[in-house]
Amino acid sequence: MNGQARRWDGLLFVAPFLLLYLLILVYPLFKGLWLSLHSVDIFGDGTFIGLGNYARLFADPIFIQSLVNTFVVTLMIVPPLTVIALALALALNRATRGAAIFRGIFFSSAVLSVTIVTLIWRFILAPDAGLLGELWTALGWEPLPFLSAPHLTLPALAITTIWWSLGLPMLLFLAGLQQIPHDMYEAAALDRASKWTTFWRVTLPSLRRTTILVVMLQTAAQLQLFGQSQLLTAGGPSGASRTAVLFMFESAFGRWELGYAAAAAEILFLIILAVTLTQYWLTGRAGEGEGGR
């Protein structure tokens, strides 16, 4: 067998994967790039307009607002989500039956579809008949118009998303906690460390990698927030809760401006790449030389 034949034989083994990979990942990636450089609608080939779509986007106040909304809602979601997931993991990191049941309950929201989740939270947030509204009325307060007041819609999206997304970070933190060797806690006890000191000086530093992972994954995920925005508030009122992906959806499938939407997608892609790489770079430098005991 000569070298040439051997190379082609090997390629046959990876061909099924390679074919799918090229078809559903690489091709759309470049197709998107190509689309973003054209003025194109659902019919016909469109015309090449260079960076015209990009120039238009940066002058489009609706797009800019959707980007701002996306950043604001991501900031509202990721820090509380991380803290709550960690707190739940700490509370449920024990081998009792009760802890196992609660782990299941807290994870269960993660398996629901976005449709169900927004439906549930509509029931809770709707000011006239919702759970929170009833509660507020019972306490003698005016119900908060979560789904209609411009300054309350993003918090409403954030609350819904935190509730929905809690499961995975909690599991990651639980896995991280179980990796911490028990004798380190015993050493801390012999070192007269209080519970508080033990948490800050032993537990939290040991969860560094997990925390970085959770924050990066959630940031990348929430910058693409879409379903909750579309289903809970339809981006309203007057764009106050329109996220970047909702903007793309409306451009592409509402106004059939495929090139324009593709250009917006390329921009969001670059933003997510930049944000996660920055997080990685910021957190990666301080953590050298760890791992062994």
Binding site: R192, V202, E290
Partner: protein
């Protein structure tokens, strides 16, 4: 009385008794080794002293203060863990300072304590490194340093040498012995390695089956084992134990083995319990392979281990009893050879029906 006193310590895990009424007194500055097989309760007892486990019953008293009711950090003990348990995200210096900071020791004092310990342990150049950047032996030193800076009244070492390779283990053993001269505190070391226990300890506490079997200095454990378990657990290879029958005669016990050989021991007959059935214990060095006609019995060779300075010969007597004997380093014996064995009766041990050991009178 200063020192450590354990009174009637009991501990069960989920219905399984692991310590059943342990009493022990340790003098100040004494080096004690807890020796025993896995699951004998020795580590549990160490952890009870440290406060990492709570005894179901009994008292732990250190320097006239009852400590078993105190949290681990307030007991005046420091522990070196088997896997070191260093904090991976802290530097060596921070690892050593952590306990002192929590105890609100002034920073200047912390610095001088760490500097002293680092000098003694020769880890000054490592103070700003993290544990992952250290070798196993260096981590071990840091773990010891972290214990020293606390100036405890008692050091607890949990299998401190088991994670080191053979060469490093020997070196660290010597260093532990030297270190112990420098600290003004008692040391309790858990080990299952009898060589460690024999070379380091002032006294060895042999554990088996939930109880202390014997507490004695190393050579006494070796020469006058309290019972069959201690006799066979300490010493390598294990002591040969053969059933025998007491013969009539003078004040010293004479025992006939199953193959008819007679061994004249140095054990006083009147110290033995009544009854003719005994077991005789022989260390390999008291059974010599001989070729010049002074053999007291003979056996068939089953295995020869050449160790260099001596050879160990595993032989079987005619009645089937297994005996371990010693031969010169350059032994030419082969498996299947019939060899003459000379039993040194003066060094023989006798064991009664309940396993209790009887020995020649102490010199």
């Amino acid at each position: 009385m200063p020192g450590l006193i354990l009174r009637n310590i009991r501990k069960a895990f989920k219905g399984t008794q692991v310590l059943d009424g342990v009493d022990l007194e340790v003098a100040p500055r004494e080096f004690i080794a807890f020796l025993g097989p896995s699951g004998s309760g020795k580590s549990t007892l160490l952890r009870i002293i440290a406060g990492l486990e709570y005894a179901d019953d009994g008292e732990v008293i250190l320097d006239e203060r009852r400590i078993d009711t105190l949290p681990p950090g307030d007991r005046g003990v420091a522990m070196v863990f088997q896997h070191y348990a260093l904090y991976p995200h802290m530097t060596v210096r921070e690892n050593m300072a952590f306990g002192l900071r929590n105890a609100k020791v002034p920073q200047a004092e912390i610095d001088s304590l760490i500097a002293d310990a680092a000098r003694v342990l020769e880890i000054d150049p490592l103070l700003d490194r993290k544990p992952a950047q250290l070798s196993g032996g260096q981590r071990q030193r840091v773990a010891i340093g972290r214990a020293i800076v606390k100036r405890p009244r008692l050091f607890l070492l949990d299998e401190p040498l088991s994670n080191l390779d053979a060469a490093l283990r020997l070196r660290t053993r010597v260093e532990l012995a030297q270190l112990r001269q420098r600290v003004d505190a008692g040391v309790i070391m858990v080990t299952h390695d009898q060589a460690e226990a024999m070379t380091l300890a002032d006294r060895i506490v042999v554990f088996n089956d939930r109880r202390i079997q014997q507490v004695a200095p190393p050579m006494e454990i070796y020469l006058r084992p309290a019972n069959k378990f201690v006799a066979q657990f300490v010493g390598s290879p294990a002591m040969t134990i053969i059933p025998g029958t007491l013969q009539g005669g003078g004040p010293l016990a004479i025992v006939a083995l199953g193959n008819g050989a007679v061994v004249e021991t140095a054990v006083h007959r009147d110290s033995l319990p009544s009854g003719a059935q005994v077991e005789i214990g022989l260390r390999p060095e008291s059974v010599r392979v001989t070729r010049n006609g002074d053999a007291t019995t003979s056996g068939a060779v089953e295995l020869v281990e050449r160790l260099g300075e001596r050879s160990l010969v595993y032989a079987r007597l005619k009645d089937g009893a297994a005996v371990t004997a010693e031969d010169e380093g350059v032994s030419t014996l082969k498996v299947g050879d019939e060899v003459g064995l000379r039993i040194d009766g003066g060094a023989a041990h006798l064991f009664g029906p309940d396993g209790t050991g009887y020995h020649r009178p102490a010199a």
